[in-house]
């Protein structure tokens, strides 16, 4: 982490989430909801592709912040708002910006963007905010 000023951008973290990742996440969380892998069920709900568990985006936000602040700082709050369902195979990018630093508590806003195959932002999957205790 290079700076703690308000307005400091958080280094972006990008990930393509495919069905294999989603199945691994389903296993790791004891959540076998068919929306994440079963095409027959998925079509019956009006979607055309498996839908990423929104909480994978929450985990990405947590990683983005924790990687940036380092192992001696601790994530104490994370708020997530789900905006757009993300289909399997999509690449997402989490980034953010510092909004305050007071009394060893850093607050930041976060966004998970949806990227197209060219790496251009085409939507917002989730927005959020986090707080970190710096020491």
């Amino acid at each position: 982490m290079t700076s703690l000023n308000v307005g400091t951008p958080i280094p972006p973290l990008e990930r393509q989430i495919d069905v294999t990742d989603m199945v691994a996440y389903a296993g790791a969380t004891w959540d076998w909801h068919r929306l994440h892998y079963d095409m027959e069920y998925i079509r019956s709900t009006g979607f055309s592709a498996p839908i990423v568990d929104g909480q994978m985006l929450g985990a990405l936000m947590a990683q983005c912040v924790q990687d940036w602040v380092g192992p001696d700082a601790r994530l104490t709050k994370l708020g997530i708002r789900f905006l757009t369902p993300v289909e399997a195979g999509t690449t997402v990018r989490c980034d953010g910006v510092t909004v305050s630093v007071e009394s060893e508590v850093l607050k930041c806003d976060l966004t998970v963007h949806i990227l197209d195959s060219e790496g251009e932002v085409v939507g917002t999957a989730a927005s959020g905010h986090a707080e970190v205790k710096l020491s």
Partner: protein, 168 residues
């Protein structure tokens, strides 16, 4: 005419609670499995020695794991494959979406922690969407504690029951 879907019967469930006690400690393997699944190789979750050098007793859980795992619930699979806590709220003509979560991480989760999770329906309100259709917003609060009654995480979850049309 706008439909009214938040009935008195539903509102009467505000304040309802459910308590789950995990059958076993959450365990170190769960941390590694979750970290592998999300592609997060932070050694705080994987390497005891590294975690000790940064003020912990050993590896800690990736922060969102306890809010996401259904390990503690020990419930059978539903027909959808889901096997976690739910309120079984029947609101005809709607579909359920997750609106968001607000997590407060009070204390790092250790492999030895045996979770007790208390869910409570905090509120239900009806709102009108931008399309002019009704929706019910259900706010639940979950508190995750360990076997020593130490509060680990609080999770405020918003569920949205979105109108799709009166079933024929």
């Amino acid at each position: 005419m706008t439909e009214t879907i938040l009935t008195g019967e539903l509102r009467a469930r505000i304040g309802e609670t459910r308590v789950y006690v995990a059958p076993e400690p959450i365990g170190k393997a769960a941390f590694r499995y979750f970290a592998l699944a999300i592609g997060d190789n932070n050694p705080l979750y994987l390497d005891d020695q590294f975690a000790r050098e940064h003020g912990y007793d050993g590896v800690i859980a990736p922060p969102t794991l306890v809010c996401e795992t259904n390990q503690y619930a020990n419930l059978p699979k539903e027909s959808t494959g889901y096997a976690g806590h739910g309120w079984d709220l029947e609101i005809p003509g709607t579909r359920l979406l997750r609106g968001g979560n607000e997590y407060s991480f009070h204390k790092a989760v250790c492999p030895e922690d045996i979770l007790t999770v208390t869910w409570r329906i905090d509120d239900m309100v009806e709102r009108t969407s931008s399309k002019g259709t009704p929706m019910v917003i259900v706010t639940s609060i979950a508190e995750y504690a360990n076997q020593n009654a130490e509060l680990l995480v609080t999770n405020v979850e918003t569920l949205i029951y979105q109108w799709r049309g009166r079933p024929s």
